[in-house]
């Protein structure tokens, strides 16, 4: 009973935290740019407002347009449930490994891209085409980074990867881990539509990727998509935090361990949020056709990660 209670608590927690995380990054960016900025809880207001508004659907759109927000939300939520945000050794650990998380997120991306094409707008098509380009090019980096982690942990199972680093703390500083972290960090920026790949704050159509794709969405559908996007950001932050620096993750299902796990999760999310906010303040958006260069850098990093993991064995 207890393990499933932890699953439910963890799922509810990540769902509830996700919009706040986006708000924190935005707020930090505003402060770094000497603006006052909206408070970190602003995204919650936005979601409430969107859920209360009517939906406008294009007359060209089909049933797919109305199905996609639910698929995107469900696939991201399912992926979030598999990630060990609080604890390891959970029942869901066996249901899906790191590859399943990646493929679930890809399912959401694919449906969002299809929905971008559906209303027949040039912006939607543009966003969809670019999104799939970035997703396709990020895929080998993700796989190789996973491979590098699996080389040291012996498995792609998330609980085992975390457990392996906990039992052998020196592994966290091994070159394989460091390179894999760097590679996944770059991929995280690309996959969650952050600078320098995509600008989440832009409203200039020709430079948009994610925002162009969801341009036709409004009301509750947009709310679901925005929430899923926030959740995706949290999934990547939690993966980066807990796979590479697993300290604090609850190994036993005791209240103390879980409280500690929550505290360490919040701390890790905050630290990564600061890093992302600083980065987004410091760098400019790359031209679209420079993005593949960035992704090939991350691919090389992942390749180095695999190589050094092989050598370190």
């Amino acid at each position: 009973m207890v393990p499933w209670a932890i699953e439910i608590v963890q799922a509810a927690l990540v769902l509830a935290l996700a919009p706040g995380l986006v708000g924190v990054v935005r707020w930090l960016k505003a402060r770094l740019q000497s603006r006052r900025g909206a408070p970190p809880w602003q995204p919650y207001y936005e979601l409430r407002k969107l859920f209360g508004k009517e939906v406008v659907v294009s007359s060209n759109a089909s049933w797919l347009f109305r199905l996609a927000p639910y698929v995107v939300f469900a696939s991201t939520a399912a992926a979030a449930c598999l990630v060990p945000s609080l604890a390891v050794g959970r029942p869901l650990d066996a249901v899906g490994d790191l590859l399943v998380v990646v493929y679930l997120l890809l399912l959401g991306t694919v449906f969002l891209s299809l929905a971008g094409l559906d209303p027949g707008s040039a912006f939607g098509g543009m966003g969809s085409s670019r999104e799939m380009t970035v997703a396709a090019l990020a895929e080998p980096t993700v796989a190789l980074a996973i491979f590098a982690l699996a080389l040291s942990a012996g498995s792609t199972n998330l609980g085992q990867i975390v457990g392996r680093t906990l039992t052998d703390p020196a592994a966290a500083l091994s070159p394989g881990h460091l390179f894999a972290f760097a590679a996944l960090f770059v991929v995280m920026l690309a996959e969650t539509g952050r600078l320098p790949v995509d600008n989440p704050a832009t409203h200039l159509e020709l430079t948009m990727i994610h925002e162009a794709m969801v341009l036709e969405y409004s009301g509750r559908y947009l709310a679901l998509i925005e929430w899923a996007a926030a959740l995706k950001l949290l999934v990547f932050f939690a993966l980066l935090g807990n796979l590479f620096l697993p300290w604090g993750v609850a190994v036993a299902a005791t209240p103390v361990a879980l409280t500690l796990a929550l505290g360490s999760l919040l701390l890790k999310l905050a630290v990564i949020a600061v890093v992302v906010a600083v980065l987004e303040t410091r760098v400019a958006k790359l031209r679209l056709f420079r993005v593949p260069e960035l992704l090939s850098v991350s691919f090389v990093l992942a390749l180095l990660a695999v190589t050094s993991s092989f050598l370190a064995r």
Partner: protein, 681 residues
């Protein structure tokens, strides 16, 4: 008793196909011809599945020799073991829906092309493919193989009035015979000098061969069977011939026939030759990775829906070969559990690809049937006019994109997992090969998802881009039914993976270097590859997805505003939206075309006509862009020219005089006699 029953099922299968072929040739009404040939093909397919199931469940191979037939080469020898039975099931699973579909699809041919020929050849094609999986000696195998190639050639040539069909047929005929020559030479090296060509004797002979000769046999088999499977660089015929055939035949060729190439390599490498050196596996992984990447990269750029699917077959065959290669590599490294997993994953992907590629070709056929075009830049908006086809095609697209919870996701996950046991190995070759394979697999998976978002999105979503697409009609009931069956199989093979995988493990058990009993690979609803400790359950992931969707739907229903207004697509204040504003297939792939420009070498030709008064008034813009088909231009172009030149020189001896030809015959006969005398003496 059971043996006799099994023989009866075999007889049913053969008689159904033969009967179908004969019935199709009878001078009957066209709709009767279509119905009879389809019914016979379905009957044969079902009998084939029953036959294979009996062998798989019973476990004992079924053998039947008819020495009286083909007595020169040791008689007609049939034997169905688990490996052959798997591929026989693969034939049946696609053949039945494809034949049903063909009954409706071929109506459009009435009065234009020969329905009798089509029906007869379809049944012969299915028969010969089934016999290939059953053959137990060289002669039976090679005859069935060649008959299969010829039957499919005639099927490709169905629409023989189109110039591109004739050209495609030429490519196919040439490539398939190059392949046959290579396969024959591989077998010739394996046949013992005492003569007999049965596979049992070949197995005995293989043990006595020197390692280098075994290597030669392996390479010949890989090239020969690889040309049928569409391995790069022998794939060039595939994107021409598969689209040219009627769509249900394309489904059979891409879904099943290319898999028989895989079967051939497995038969030779696993069964006849036995455990080989590590480079065999590495070679297959390399060729597989190259095929996967080349296939998917060209699929992305394709605007013709069926050609896109054909290139994607090259890609998927590549993925299968990565699995087969990993399996061979692990057998030679003496890691039987890992080898069994890799081979089971490869077979799983072969089965999945048969199902979803069959489905997608049938869907593409329904689109071509409804609109008369396969050019995606002229399609669009079909989700409204063809709702069934669209839904089925979407399932196929998600499955082939490797997305959960469909079957493609399961087999791609298993392929990844089967590369992981390389961790434990310290052999020098393994690390770089496996890293390369993982990278190629992942890039392929990502690009395939992009290619099929394009294929589905551009064809079925947004506004129709032509009158034909605007006035399209849904497919007939039989066509819809067969697509629904295959779409349901895509879901079942994904959700039921916990049942499928152990069965696949049982199929590869006992072949060279593999354990007699493969560990179960599953635990309850979980797929549990040996050793690694990673596990996954597609059915539970699907339940989770559905639960999350249901919860979100209920929550939105209860808690959110319900208003919904239908309005125009937003377009920066422009009035009215036309299809010309949409992204096209070409535009969709443009970013990736730039990224991989080194490979594609796109040629661009932009002509802008401006008004004579001012260059700011543009009157017309013409833009042409083509990608250079690399292999055709730089490999096959020079080769074909060289062959044509040599052939031109032989014209000198073609005098046209019967006397001269008789003289050639005599000279050739004498020369052969002299050679054989010198050989034996």
């Amino acid at each position: 008793m059971t043996l006799e029953t099994t023989a009866c099922v075999l007889a049913y299968m053969v008689l159904a196909y033969l009967g179908g072929a004969v019935a199709a040739l009878l001078p009957l009404r066209p709709d009767l011809t279509r119905a009879l040939s389809a019914a016979a093909a379905i009957g044969g397919a079902v009998a084939g599945i029953v036959l294979a199931a009996r062998v798989l469940i019973g476990g004992a191979p079924f053998a039947l020799t008819v020495p009286a037939l083909l007595s020169v080469g040791g008689g007609l020898a049939l034997r169905l073991d688990t490996l052959g039975a798997f591929f026989l099931i693969l034939v049946g699973v696609v053949a039945a829906p494809a034949a049903l579909y063909g009954a409706g699809y071929s109506r459009a041919y009435t009065g234009r092309y020969s329905l009798r020929w089509l029906g007869a050849m379809l049944n012969l094609f299915l028969l010969t493919m089934s016999v290939v999986t059953l053959a137990d000696n060289v002669l039976t195998f090679v005859l069935a193989w060649e008959a299969m190639s010829l039957a499919s050639y005639f099927l490709v040539m169905t629409e023989h009035e189109r110039a591109d069909t004739v050209a495609a047929g030429g490519w196919y005929l040439a490539m398939t015979h190059v392949g046959l020559a290579l396969i024959l030479s591989a077998f010739l090296l394996l046949v013992p000098p005492s003569g007999g060509g049965s596979f049992a004797e070949l197995r005995g002979m293989a043990v006595t061969l020197s390692p280098s000769l075994r290597g030669v046999v392996f390479v010949l088999a890989v090239l020969g069977f690889g040309s049928k499977a569409g391995l790069v660089p022998l794939h060039v015929w595939l994107p021409r011939a598969h689209p040219a055939a009627p769509s249900h035949v394309s489904a059979l060729m891409s879904g099943v026939m290319v898999k028989l190439g895989v079967y051939g390599i497995l038969r030779v490498a696993l069964d006849l030759l036995g455990v080989g050196p590590a480079w065999w596996g590495a070679l297959l992984i390399g060729l597989g990775a190259a095929s996967a990447l080349v296939g998917v990269l060209y699929a992305l750029m394709e605007d013709d829906l069926k050609r896109l699917l054909a290139y994607s077959s090259v890609e998927n065959v590549g993925l299968i070969f990565i699995g087969v290669g990993a399996g061979l590599l692990f057998t030679s490294l003496r890691e039987p559990a890992a080898a069994a997993l890799a081979l089971a994953a490869a077979l799983y992907h072969a089965l999945n690809h048969a199902v979803f590629k069959g489905l997608l070709f049938l869907g593409a056929g329904a689109v071509a049937h409804a609109t008369g075009t396969r050019d995606m830049n002229r399609l669009g908006g079909l989700v409204r006019r063809l709702p069934w086809t669209a839904a089925c095609f979407l399932v196929g697209a998600l499955a082939i994109g490797g997305l959960p919870p469909f079957n493609g996701f399961v087999s791609e996950w298993l392929l990844f997992q089967s590369l992981l046991p390389a961790i434990g190995s310290s052999a020098p070759l393994v690390a770089p090969v496996m890293t390369l394979a993982v990278g190629a697999l992942a890039l392929t998976a990502g690009l395939a998802a992009a290619a099929f978002v394009k294929a589905f999105g551009i064809t079925f979503l947004a506004l129709p881009r032509s009158v034909e697409a605007r006035e399209a009609h849904e497919a007939t009931a039989t066509m819809r039914a067969s697509m629904v069956v295959l779409a349901a199989l895509c879901a079942l093979l994904g959700l039921g993976a916990a049942f499928v995988l152990p069965a696949l493990g049982g199929i590869v058990a006992g072949y060279a270097g593999l354990p007699r009993v493969v560990p179960p690979l599953t635990a309850g609803a979980l797929l549990l590859p040996p050793g690694g400790g990673a596990s996954m359950s597609p059915s539970l992931v699907a339940i989770g997805l559905l639960l999350a969707m249901g919860a979100a739907w209920v929550a939105v229903r209860v808690g959110a505003a319900r208003g919904l207004r239908v309005s125009d697509t937003w377009g920066c204040g422009r009035i009215g939206q036309t299809p010309r504003m949409e992204y096209t297939s070409t535009a969709y792939a443009e970013p990736l075309r730039r990224v991989f420009a080194e490979l594609y070498r796109p040629t661009e030709d932009l002509t802008i006509d401006v008004h004579p008064e001012s260059r700011y008034f543009v009157q017309s813009i013409a833009y042409r862009s083509e990608i250079v088909p690399w292999f055709e231009r730089y490999v096959y172009g020079p080769l074909v020219r060289r062959v044509a030149a040599v052939a031109g020189r032989t014209r000198a001896i073609q005098s046209g005089s019967a006397h001269a030809y008789l003289a050639y015959l005599v000279v050739a006969l004498l020369a052969l006699l002299a050679i054989s005398l010198a050989w034996s003496g």
